[in-house]
């Protein structure tokens, strides 16, 4: 290909040059052929140096696995945050007694009264559900021979399911009548229902709560999420009046107030109205801080974002460190490889390999290994993630994005950390390199 043109050029100075007349397409095909054959040769080299290849793949795999876990976990956390916010509802707020942001020492947390609830229901524009709530932890439930300690018994008023956008799969919601007469009726979360009644439909059945018989009137849909304070499905909901009577609790105050508005558009104004009203009802002076806390979906998201941010930071640092460590292992093993394969490099150059062919060969080898590492890492990461998920530490969402990110990261590591050894190989003087082999 070159000779005829070169011959034609004669013994002019610099006579041996690549003929310029070669078409772009032919040049491209030549380059492709060169790349392909370099790849084939590179692969046989990787097979020849199996142990070293294995270490590089292992090192990169660990980095990619961390990356996989972090991306999947962050995606999982995002999804969960969205679900939580969704469940919370964009059209609703939750008011707690006490100020959880600036909690003064000894400040009362029971500040919300029945009167507050009544006044809000009466005079807050746009509010269509006002749901006071109290709760009690760890109550013994019993049905026939099944005993179960439910971590949360919530006392509330009518329309609980509606207020929490929590559909009932069976039965009905609590009614005003239940609340008025202190009825011994209960809504059941999925978990206690299973514990007491197995797979049978619990609606209409009776169980004992601290020795008092209750009838199940509704079964709450399975939500399968572990919120901050444990499994949301692990609860029993009864009328608040029944709760305070049966467990002899204070009857004036309740812990939290769920308020649902008719529209989401004016949420900021609604929240401001609610705050003013509560401050007025609690007779707070302008300089006094709120003695309650209003939580909106946005704040829930913000709060979750902070948690997520911590997760991203922690896992991100871990993953980055792992990738960098993998990269250094790669770079060092390749530098070793270049030294060890000096003769091969010198020989190839002596046989006419231009520097770029050697560079390409080593970059290809590096890339091949890191890409193997990427695949291994994603698999390893998925397994690690599954283990962590089983331990209840994180929730993972594996997607194509994870895989693409892993490939991108591996490619970057392969190119960045493979470049120096590859350039070193390409720059080797064939005479010196061959002498090294004698």
């Amino acid at each position: 290909m070159t000779s005829p043109a070169a011959t034609a050029s004669g013994p002019a100075p610099g006579g041996f040059v690549r003929p310029g007349g070669r078409s772009g397409l032919a040049r491209l095909r030549g380059l492709l052929r060169e790349a392909w054959r370099a790849a084939v040769l590179g692969l046989s080299a990787l097979l020849a140096y199996r142990l070293r290849s294995f270490f590089v793949i292992a090192a990169v795999s660990l980095g990619i696995a961390s990356l996989t876990v972090i991306v999947a976990a962050v995606d999982g956390a995002s999804k969960k945050a969205d679900e939580i916010a969704d469940m919370f509802g964009p059209d609703a707020v939750l008011v707690f007694g006490g100020n959880i942001v600036n909690r003064a020492v000894g400040a009362r947390t029971l500040t919300l009264t029945w009167e507050d609830a009544a006044r809000i229901r009466q005079s807050l524009p746009g509010a269509y559900i006002v749901l006071p709530m109290r709760s009690k932890g760890n109550v013994r439930l019993k049905h026939e021979s099944n005993n179960y300690d439910v971590p949360l018994v919530a006392g509330t008023t009518e329309n609980y399911a509606k207020a929490w956008n929590w559909p009932l799969v069976e039965g009905r919601d609590l009614t005003a009548e239940d609340v008025q007469r202190g009825g011994r009726v209960a809504l059941m979360g999925d978990k206690p229902a299973r514990e007491l009644f197995g797979d049978a439909n619990p609606v209409g059945r009776t169980f004992l709560m601290s020795g008092v018989p209750f009838t199940v009137v509704g079964l709450l849909q399975y939500r399968g999420m572990s919120g901050g304070g444990g499994n949301v499905d692990d609860r029993v909901v009864i009328p608040i009046t029944t709760l305070t009577q049966r467990f002899n609790m204070d009857r004036r105050y309740f812990r939290a107030l769920r308020v649902k508005f008719e529209d989401t558009a004016g949420m900021d104004a609604h929240v401001e109205d609610l705050r003013s009203l509560l401050r007025h009802l609690h007779r707070l002076a302008p300089e006094d801080p709120d003695d309650f806390t209003v939580l909106t979906a946005r704040e829930v998201l913000k709060f979750l974002a902070v948690i997520k941010g911590g997760l991203v930071l922690f896992l991100g640092v871990t993953a980055a460190a792992a990738m960098v460590v993998g990269g250094f292992v790669l770079a060092n093993l390749f530098l070793l490889s270049v030294t060890e394969r000096r003769v091969e490099i010198g020989l190839k150059k002596a046989l006419g390999a231009p520097g770029r062919a050697i560079l390409l060969q080593f970059l290809m080898e590096s890339l091949a290994l890191t890409l193997c590492g990427a695949v291994g890492g994603v698999v390893l990461g998925a397994l690690m993630g599954q283990a962590l998920e089983r331990l209840g530490l994180i929730e993972m969402v594996l997607s194509a994005k994870v895989f693409l990110l892993a490939l991108a990261a591996a490619t970057a590591v392969g190119l960045v950390f493979g470049l120096r050894p590859a350039r070193q190989a390409a720059a080797l003087d064939p005479i010196q390199a061959l002498r090294g082999g004698e």
Binding site: P11, F16, A350, L351, P354, E438
Partner: protein, 294 residues
């Protein structure tokens, strides 16, 4: 640099010379068609700290197509450096090198690689086969950088392996081949791109005498097909196989002549020109020709 020392056309050591272009013209002017290698005033200096070491101090000679030349010298004589320059692994500090019609004295790295790939074939003392590649893949190695059709190259590689007697061992990795067989693979590899110039650096240095003789026979065979062969050696017996012998000492040519004891010292040892009357003086003393004692 007018005349070249070259074997007469159709000389016994270059029977294939008739199919190399231009052997008919024995005029031997610079860059003439019959001349493959033309070195004029080649020097090569290396810096060692503040010292400049002149390894080659003005070397000039020509080699015609189809010659079989031994470059002989003790270690430190400069013969390796001369080989590196001949093989385009190194560039001269000063002087002019024309190879197969191309001025290759000062090429850049890439052009030198390509010229090496197309114009020269190397045979090394240590064989230098890639340990993880089969004999066939080793032979194909120079083809990796020559942008030629793979299938045709493969056919040629197989053909060459048959020619060096390893047709039944193409799939063997070097570790499964004897030293002599490995050097045969290296010979086949040197021939793959059909280069004009075969350079052998102590090709028998690692081999016992029987195997050495085989390899030298093979080199002679290759030469007989018209290839120009240059063997660099310190070994007189190996050098004796070549028709022409160039002895180098302390960076200059000590003698250059056709085979026999009548090697003629070039007029004015360090001066550049090759022996202008070589052809007349040479054959008179070196009559043994191809039947040189092994």
């Amino acid at each position: 640099m007018t005349t070249t020392h070259l074997a007469a056309p159709g000389a016994p050591d270059a029977p294939g010379a008739t199919d190399t272009p231009g052997t008919s013209g024995a005029s031997g002017t610079s860059g003439s068609p019959g001349t493959l290698v033309e070195l004029s005033g080649i020097t090569r200096s290396f810096r060692q700290g503040d010292l400049t070491v002149d390894v080659l101090r003005g070397v000039s000679f020509s080699i015609a197509h189809g010659e079989f030349v031994a470059i002989q010298g003790a270690s430190g004589s400069g013969k390796s450096t001369l080989l590196h320059i001949l093989g385009l692994l190194d560039s001269p500090t000063t002087g002019r090198y024309v190879l197969d019609g191309h001025d290759v004295s000062h090429l850049d790295d890439d052009a030198r690689s390509e010229a090496r790939n197309q114009l020269t074939g190397f045979v090394f003392q240590n064989f230098y086969l890639i340990p993880y590649a089969t004999a066939l893949d080793n032979v194909l190695l120079p083809g990796l950088y020559s942008h030629k059709n793979l299938r045709a190259q493969r056919r040629r590689a197989e053909e060459l392996l048959h020619r060096v007697g390893l047709g039944d061992r193409m799939d063997f990795v070097p570790a499964r081949l004897s030293g002599g067989q490995q050097q045969r693979v290296a010979l086949a590899r040197a021939l793959l791109n059909d280069p004009a110039l075969i350079l052998a650096d102590e090709p028998t240095g690692q081999l016992d005498s029987t195997t050495s003789a085989d390899i030298l026979d093979l080199l002679a065979d290759i030469n007989r097909t018209g290839k120009t062969v240059v063997v660099v050696t310190h070994d007189a017996e190996t050098a004796a196989r070549a028709r022409r012998r160039i002895v180098i000492r302390d960076g200059v040519i000590e003698s250059d002549g056709l085979h026999g004891d009548g090697a003629v010292p070039p007029p004015g040892a360090a001066s550049a020109s090759a022996p202008s009357d070589g052809p007349s003086a040479g054959p008179s003393s070196g009559t043994s020709g191809p039947g040189a004692p092994a």
